[in-house]
């Protein structure tokens, strides 16, 4: 059959031609100081006043300035668009003296009216802000004192206000740009005063920002542009973790975040790649324990579960030792972190077993599980799919097996499903964490009537401390209050802390001076350089 091979060969030849030609057709040179930055997911929307994702801040922190900044080293608030500020003694009036001579990227002058226009937008019910509006706390009104002075008035003292005002969600946008397009379209036409100008957002594909030539009003920790400063950044959405690592290895991207610990270990041995570990402030990976349900209603059981947990083994097996063990309700990177909790309830199988024996739990039926209610002593654990929590929960189940405790895992696919499962109240532990640089985030979880009080714990003393800490502006007093808060939470063994969240960033070694801000997620791109591009 001589005719057949020719027929078959045709499509195959076409295929190979396509492959062979493709690199040549697609080849393009990368301009010197342009980098590609891989984001680990695409935010649902990138309007910082409306949307809530942390990922949107990675590009947009560069586009907007905020009234104040947090110094990345000290965590102190430093001037941004506000040169100075005063807080009234009762903590309800914040007066900001604004920097003069600042213009938005579209030429609009920055002044008190611009700040007011931003506040108006965030508070507008039709704008339906999902995060920024709530960060303003008990905000009541503002007063424009003069063109460069504005006072924010609160219904009651609210210490986290400066923290909120230092975040990109309260970044100051050009009033002209806000007016020019509809609420839904502004995310495609963003204009700020920051070191980079917004160029474009193509959904599903990229966000591009370009260095602003006129920027001269950065906070103290922004250095003047280096010789090899980065001129343009293209952010791409690399949602698959393995693909992120491979793209970095191949040189298709110069920076990526959220690398898997195993990939980070492998990449660290590659030439030309640096791994930058950044501890994230807020809550560590933790399991909140339900104090209203047997057996975690018993403090001895809660203490035994913590003491019987080998955090080192979990860190080694799952997080490749990139993550420090967590000991309390705040991670070590959080302001007001109480370091004296380190080592509390450190791992000891013998101590955990002794706690259980003292509390009267025995294995009378000799089935290797402790007895409870005619069956085995069992804890039910809600396990969401993110952050390698399923792996952690599996290891916990193995470790607690040695205590004679049976673990029942309840997998939930989404946040909505997790909330519903928690709402049923039939769980003992639930894995959860939240990020932020102000410990006021603890209130939702530990106030007796907190909306996320999933431990069900009520304590008037703790409530008093939490409320006072939010109403106190003096950092020294807050530190003392939060020290007590953290101690009570661990004395009562309300949570099982596992590890501090560490963002594993990978970058080409040609990227120099890449540091991250105090919130951990956001790179300080104005200070970075790209050498030999």
């Amino acid at each position: 059959m001589p005719g057949k091979p020719r027929l078959i060969a045709l499509p195959i030849v076409c295929l190979f031609l396509l492959v062979a030609c493709a690199p040549a057709l697609g080849a393009q040179s990368t301009p010197g100081n342009r980098i590609v930055y891989g984001l680990s997911f695409e935010p649902s929307g990138i309007d910082p006043h409306i949307n809530a994702s942390a990922e949107l801040g990675i590009p947009l922190r560069q586009v907007y300035d905020t009234l104040v900044y947090r110094d990345p080293t000290t965590g102190e608030f430093v001037p941004g668009l506000a040169e100075s500020w005063e807080i009234s003694t009762d903590g309800t009036r914040y007066t900001f003296h604004l920097r003069q001579g600042v213009t938005f990227h579209d030429g609009t002058p920055f002044n008190a009216q611009a700040v007011a226009a931003n506040l108006d937008r965030i508070l507008d019910p039709d704008v339906a802000s999902q995060k920024a509006i709530f960060m303003l706390g008990p905000f009541a009104d503002y007063e424009i004192v003069d063109d460069y002075t504005i006072t924010l008035i609160l219904a009651q003292a609210y210490a986290p206000l400066l923290d909120s005002l230092s975040q990109v969600y309260l970044g100051i946008a050009s009033p002209t740009a806000l007016q020019a397009v509809s609420r839904e379209r502004y995310q495609f036409h963003q204009v700020g005063t920051g070191p980079y100008e917004f160029v474009e957002y193509v959904p599903g594909d990229r966000i591009v920002i370009h260095r602003s030539p006129n920027y001269a009003w950065g906070p103290s920790f922004y250095q003047p542009p280096a010789e090899n400063a980065i001129d343009e950044v293209e952010f791409r959405f690399l949602t698959d973790a393995s693909a992120r690592a491979l793209a970095l290895e191949a040189g298709d991207v110069q920076v990526v975040g959220e690398i898997l610990p195993t990939d980070a270990r492998a990449l660290a041995t590659e030439g030309g790649i640096q791994i930058i570990q950044v501890g994230i402030p807020g809550q560590p990976l933790q399991f909140l324990m339900n104090t209203t349900r047997f057996p975690t209603g018993d403090r001895a059981i809660r203490q035994a579960l913590i003491t019987g947990t080998n955090r080192e083994a979990i860190s080694a097996a799952i997080f490749q030792r990139f993550s420090p063990a967590a000991w309390g309700p705040l991670s070590a990177a959080t302001p007001f972190y109480f370091s004296q909790l380190q080592g509390v309830f450190s791992y000891s199988l013998a101590d955990a077993q002794a706690l259980l024996t003292q509390a009267g739990y025995t294995d009378a039926d000799e089935d290797t599980y402790l007895d409870a209610d005619g069956g085995d002593l069992t804890v039910r654990v809600i396990v969401p799919p993110w952050g390698q929590i399923p792996d952690v929960a599996q290891l916990l189940a193995d470790q607690w097996r040695q205590l004679g405790i049976r673990t029942e895992l309840i997998p939930v696919p989404t946040r909505g499903a997790l909330f519903e499962e928690v709402g049923k109240g039939e769980f003992n532990l639930v894995a959860w964490y939240d990020f932020g640089a102000d410990p006021a985030l603890l209130n939702q979880y530990y106030l007796s009537d907190g909306t996320l009080n999933w431990t069900g714990y009520t304590n008037a003393t703790l409530d008093g401390l939490l409320i006072q800490a939010v109403a106190t502006t003096d950092p020294g007093s807050r530190a003392a209050l939060y020290a007590q808060v953290q101690q009570i939470i661990m004395q009562e063994a309300l949570i099982l802390p596992i590890r501090d969240y560490v963002n594993l960033n990978g970058a080409s070694t040609r990227i120099q001076n890449l540091h991250f801000d105090r919130y951990g997620w956001f790179p300080l791109l104005p200070n970075a350089a790209y050498v030999g591009g």
Binding site: G3, I12, L15, P203, G204, D205, A243, A247, E420
Partner: protein, 306 residues
């Protein structure tokens, strides 16, 4: 009722069924993206209730359903819970990238599938075995694995092709090959089965005996009768591709409807999920009509209604 009217009615029924199923299925799932976000942001229960009422989410499911159907008839797919953007616009933004990948991978799949299927049916014993094994591999190797492997070899090790993205032809090659290889498995199997069945039919034997050239026999007497089955298979895959290739788009960091669907599902932004399912159903209906038409052209028996 004539054939065309019957088909149109069936198509409308299919779309209605898909829309209804997805509407109620999504409402059986706990929570939604907006609700969980507002709770995490610390919104008060009163604020949350207000926000939900503004979107009509406080209405009973049946009332929401009638609104949803009413809008759907006018072509309105609703707006995203989290950004307020029209769902139709969100889908349209991703359509180009999806169509590009669909076309490229389908070309690869058709070329490779027909070639492998033909060889697996008609080649010499060793070649048949080899092609058969290749088809089995194409069918069984998950894109998640072949995709990662392809990036590892062609990008990280050889540096020949970019690892992902969209816009340039070079960025299309790896995803089109990886996805095309998998789809080639299906097309190849159908080709192989049809050809194997036809080659032992008496009319093929007769054609050989009459001394016709092998290529003529293959094209006219073996391939032609097998065409309807192959066209049907290609149609199924085209419809599947236009609904979005979730895994391929994720691994190769490509924009597209599949990624939009995945993100919206994870964030519980239900209007987007609904819109994409309805879009996918519409594509299936339309492609099916086209396939029927193409089969009628290819097969005189169908054309003449016997």
């Amino acid at each position: 009722m004539n054939g065309t009217a019957r088909r149109a009615l069936a198509a409308v029924f299919t779309l209605w069924l898909a829309a209804t199923l997805v509407f109620f299925a999504l409402r059986l799932l706990p929570g939604d993206g907006l609700l969980t976000q507002l709770i995490e942001s610390g919104a008060s229960p009163a604020t949350i209730a207000e926000r939900r009422a503004a979107l009509g989410l406080d209405q009973p499911a049946f009332i929401q359903y009638t609104h949803f159907l009413g809008s759907l008839i006018t072509g309105d797919l609703g707006v995203s819970l989290l950004t307020g953007q029209p769902v139709a616009e969100l889908i349209a933004q991703q359509l180009g990238a999806t169509a590009e990948l669909a076309l490229a991978s389908l070309s690869v799949a058709v070329a490779a599938g027909l070639a492998l299927g033909t060889v697996a049916a008609l080649g010499s014993r060793v070649i048949r075995r080899l092609a058969d094994a290749l088809l089995a591999f194409a069918l069984s190797a998950p894109v998640y694995w072949t995709g990662t492997l392809a990036i590892f070899i062609f990008t990280a090790r050889l540096g020949l092709l970019p690892s992902g993205g969209a816009g340039r032809l070079s960025q299309l090659v790896l995803p089109a090959l990886v996805l095309g290889l998998q789809l080639a498995g299906g097309i190849g199997r159908v080709t192989q089965a049809s050809f194997s069945e036809t080659k032992i039919q008496p009319h093929v034997q007769t054609a050989h005996t009459k001394g016709l050239r092998s290529s003529t026999v293959l094209l006219r007497h073996i391939a032609r009768p097998a065409l309807p089955a192959i066209i049907g298979q290609i149609g199924i895959q085209a419809a599947f591709l236009l609904g979005g290739a979730v895994v391929t788009e994720s691994i190769f960091s490509r924009p597209g409807i599949g990624r939009l669907l995945l993100d919206a599902t994870l964030r519980q932004d239900y209007p987007i999920v609904q819109g994409i399912i309805i879009w996918a159903a519409a594509v299936v209906v339309i492609v099916n009509l086209l396939v029927d038409f193409a089969i009628a052209l290819a097969d005189p028996r169908v054309r003449e209604g016997t």
